[in-house]
Each structure stands twice: as C-alpha cells, then as structure tokens.
Amino acid sequence: MKPNKFWSWLVFGLGAAYFIIPLVATFMFSLSMRRGYYSFDSYASVFSDPRFQATFGYSAVIGLFSIVVGILVVVPAVYFVRLRLPWLRPAVEFITLMPLIIPAIVLVYGYIRLYNSSSIIPFTGSALGTDILLTCAYVTLALPYMYRAVDTGMRTIDIQTLTEAAQIAGANTAQIIGRIILPNILVAVLSGAFLTFAIVIGEFTIASLLNRPAFGPYLQNIGANRAYEPAALAIISFIITWGAMGMINVLGRFAPRTSARTD
C-alpha cells in the first residue's frame, strides 16, 4: 500500500508558504515603484546610490578581514584543543557560545568603555582603530559559527596521526597547520567564512554604535526614509545571504575524501 503523503505535503506547503509569501510580497512591492506596472526602478535607485556602494564595499572589506582574523584565531585554537588540551574542550565550547547569549549591544558598550579615546588603548580615537575594533567585534560575533564549522571539519580527519606523520617527516607546527591541517578542513573553514560574511553584511548594532559607515546602518537609514528601496535592499540582502549559504553547499562537494577504496 502506498503511504498517504497528503499530510506531509500539507505541512510542507504551509511551512513553505510561511517563508515564501512574505518574500514574494516584498519582491512584488520592490517592483512597484512606478504606478501601474512592475519595474526594477527601486533596484536601479539602490545600485546608483553612492552610499550603497560605499557601505557595501566597507562591510565587505571588514567582512574579509573578520574572516582572515577568525581563521587565524580559530583554526590553531581548535587544533591545539583537539590535539593537546582535549580536557579544555567543554570550556572552549562554552566560551564560543557566549556571543549567542550576550547581546551585541552589551558587547559594544563594553568595547566603548574599555577602548574609548581617553582609555589606555584608545581604539575609538581614530577611524582605523575603530575599524580594528569593529573587526574584532565581528570575529567575536561569528565565533560560534566559525568554531563549530572548524571543529566539525577537524573531527572528520585524524589530526593526531596526520600531525605525527608530518612531524616525523620534519615539519614544524606552522608547516603542519598550513600544509596539512588547513587544506584538509578548507571546506569547513570556508563554511565558517561565508557564515561570517553573512553576519557582517547585515549587522547593525555594533557598526551603528561605533559610528562606522557599514551596510547595516545604511539599510536601517534607507528603511526609515524611503518606501520601495528598503524592499529592494531586503531582497538584495537575501540574495547575498543565500548566495553565501549556496556556496557552502557547493564547496561541500569538494571536501577531501579520507577513506580508502574498499575493493
């Protein structure tokens, strides 16, 4: 007897509608800038706005720096915890979950108190200093995702034996991480990188309170003052985020295979 799939499809349909209908409505609205017919005018308006290009470019650069710093911090940290300090794992897992528990506004107020222009380390005293602070904040915000992505990647390879095999062949720790560990978890690292990028592109609180010209505050500003452009921007943001997620899936197919043939 064929199983009755009606209810399964119904639940799936309702769930899909819950997500898709608002998106379609937003998309339709973003096309309605001209009265009477659909057009991409709102998109043209967004793309021609120099502030869009400037803020998106700024956030993209900060995002790339956040990814690089995140990789430099997280990959060696996960490697050493898994290899030499496995008893420290629960503590590290807890610490990496903190950014999900502590609101971004608490983090940024802490930063401002600690690193204001009259403190010993006056990061907020210059634009470059604030950019560095913003990058550090984004590394922290992305830590739960980056840590888990890298940790999952390292779980799939036998890092202890690979490390020992590389060591006995003469490699030092930097060579082992750079030439053996990192290439073998590259797909996991890139997953973390795309998640970081998606977080940075849409982030509002920290960028706004540090007064940096990022994409998040720009989105908020447009949303408060325009009608159709915010809808277009929402769709563009979705496409960027989904693009990042799609890349994770695509890259997953190129993960190095570790098992031997069984024939």
Binding site: I157, D158, T161, L162, E164, A165, A166, Q167, I168, A169, G170, A171, N172, Q175, I180, P183, N184, L186, P256, R257, T258, S259, A260, R261, D263
Partner: protein, 352 residues
C-alpha cells in the same frame, strides 16, 4: 662497535601507571627488530618514545651515538609508518612521498627523481597523480612506506603497519617490507602483536609483557628456547602436560597413567609432586618416529583442517595435546574418536 640504537633504562609512567619499566636494549645498524607483545605491554609506547611523540619519564635513547631523548620528532631524522596509513588526504601520491623532501628544502627536480625512484621501489610506478582515496589499503601502506624512507632517515619505525590489511596482502606486504629493508640496509623497529609476523621478518625480537622485556633474541631462539612461560605461550602454540613425579632422581614421571622418563626436572621436584611439561605441537609425531624416545597413547578428540597442516587434538586423559601433521592428499585425515599412538623426543620437552 657501539650499538646503533641504544635504549637505556627507559621508563614511562602515565599518572600512576607505569607502562614501560626500565627497558634497555641495543641493536646494530641494519638490523630488523620487532617489539612483540600483547596489547598494553608497552611496545607501542617504546616506539613512540623513540619517535619523539612521548617523553620518557626516565632513561635515554641514543641513535648512532647521538642522544635523541629530548629532541622533537622533526629533529630526529627518522621515518615512520602508521597503522592507519596516515597519508595526507589533500596531497596526491607524489606529493605525499615528496613531503619530507620538500620540508627539507630539496629542489623540485631532485625531489621528482627521488619520488620516481621510491614509486619504482614500492612497485607503484605511474601512481604519482593518484589521491589516497583512489587506492586500496595495501597500496596506501606502500605509499606510506615510500614516504617514510624517501628522506633517507637514520632509522625506520613501523607501528603495526599490517594490522589494518587483509591476510593475503599482509603476508605479501611484510615480505616486501623485509626485502626493501634488506635492500636499503636501514635499521628498522617493527611493533606487532602478531608473533608470526615477528618471527618471519625479524633479525631479532624483543618479547614484551607488562612493560618489561621477557626475552630478546633471534626468532629461532625465542621460539625454540623460550626464556619464560609467557614467551613460550605467547610465541607459537604450546602444549602443557600436567604430570606427577614418580622418581625425581631418574626423571620418571606419570602422564595420565603412562610412565615416561624426562631428561630434566625442576630441582624442587619430589616424588608425588605435580610438574608441568611443555612442548610445541610440531615436535609430536603420529606413531613411532626415529629419534623419538617417548611414546604415549590416546584418542583423537578433534581434527582441524588448516590446509597444508592438520591439527589434531589428542586426549590422553586429563591432558589434551595439540599435534600438527602435514596434510597428505593421498590419505584421508584421521577421524574423531580413533585411538592413536604418538611419540616425541624427550629433549624437546621444556620444563618451565
């Protein structure tokens, strides 16, 4: 001549457990040494201390006169093959073999030539562009061997390299490893729990138990003259006969109602005392045989066909002995319950 590998009073303690206890041995250049013992005997820990992956609690390790005890693994110039192959999944075969050479800064041309030479040595020419996942376990382990010896290490360490392979490949690869080792003349330390492997390819064997050396010797010495009961039982099959001393002075003992004379008895043996005699299955013969001076009768309790060899279990009474006999294609194997006469040479009896 000073020993090439000199391990002195090596001890390793994890917490409150001492896994290696004051182990010392010395070997010459070019020897193939096996560390043989059951799981948890400390053999792998010794190998890992030689490699530099574990720090000895006390003792020292000298290679070619140099004390390497405190050196990092990447400073020891040793090659190692792991049980789990440990090929780098992101590198192809050529890059795996050339990894150590690249780290050492060998120019690309020279490196390529050395990789080709290694591939020929392991019988896999033309495999340099393959990735580990495209190869069988046996092929991967041969690549791992090539990777270990490509940088011309001072010594080769093999950590149960055949354990993950199936029986047929295991035999062919161990012969290949021995041939390559003899060809290169490289001092090799091989860790195994498989006594057949150790006996078949070693120059000398270190039999270990509970962190200590039970016996060190050539394969035939370890097998024919086991120093302890543990060695006798762990290396090869062993029959134990529980007998009763009839006359200690003449070596007369009673085995399940049959009286035989044995050449030696423990000094403490006295009439009526129990005594354990041991012997290998292959020294027993069915029927009388020239040179055999002890004859026993019993019944066949079990017959195990092993191909070229047939193993019989012979019940004498409370003692049951194993006996190996060659398979003769012209005659059928004996049946269970058949009465049988067996013989042995008293000099083959071991009193442990």
């Amino acid at each position: 001549m000073a020993a090439f590998l000199d391990v002195q009073n090596l001890t390793k303690t994890f917490g409150t457990t001492t896994v290696v206890k004051e182990v010392s041995f010395a070997f010459d250049k070019g020897e193939f040494i096996s560390l043989l013992g059951p799981s948890g005997c400390g053999k792998t820990t010794i190998l890992r201390m030689i490699a530099g992956f574990e720090t000895p609690t006390s003792g020292s390790i000298l290679v070619d006169g140099q004390d390497i005890t405190t050196l990092k693994p990447n400073q020891r110039q040793l090659g190692m093959v792991f049980q789990a192959y440990a090929l780098f999944p992101n590198l192809n075969v050529g890059d795996n073999i050339g990894f150590g050479l690249k780290i050492a800064g060998m120019p690309a041309e020279e490196r390529r030539a050395r990789v080709d030479e290694m591939l020929k040595l392991i019988g896999l020419p033309g495999f340099e562009r393959r990735y580990p996942y495209e190869m069988s376990g046996g092929q991967q382990q041969r690549v791992a061997l090539a990777r270990a010896i490509a940088p011309r290490p001072r010594m080769l360490l093999l950590d149960e390299p055949l354990s993950a392979l199936d029986a047929k490949i295991r035999v062919s690869l161990r012969e290949e490893i021995r041939a390559i080792q003899l060809d290169l003349g490289i001092t090799t330390v091989f860790v195994t729990h498989d006594q057949e492997e150790a006996l078949s390819i070693s120059d000398r064997i270190v039999v270990m138990n509970s962190g200590s050396i039970e016996q060190l010797g050539a394969p035939h010495e370890v097998y024919n003259k086991p120093a302890t009961r543990f060695v006798a039982t762990f290396v090869g099959h062993l029959n134990t006969i529980e007998a009763t001393v009839v006359d200690a002075a003449t070596g007369l003992v009673d085995i399940d109602g049959q009286t035989v004379t044995v050449p030696t008895l423990p000094a403490t043996a006295s009439a009526g005392a129990p005594v354990s005699l041991t012997l290998r299955p292959e020294v027993l013969s069915v029927g009388a045989r020239e040179g055999n001076d002890i004859t026993l009768t019993g019944t066949i309790a079990d017959v195990t066909f092993l191909g070229s060899v047939i193993r019989l279990r012979i019940a004498l009474g409370r003692n049951t002995l194993s006996l190996d006999t060659f398979n003769d294609q012209r005659t059928a194997p004996p049946s269970r319950g058949e009465p049988v006469t067996i013989s042995l040479a008293s000099k083959d009896l071991l009193v442990l």
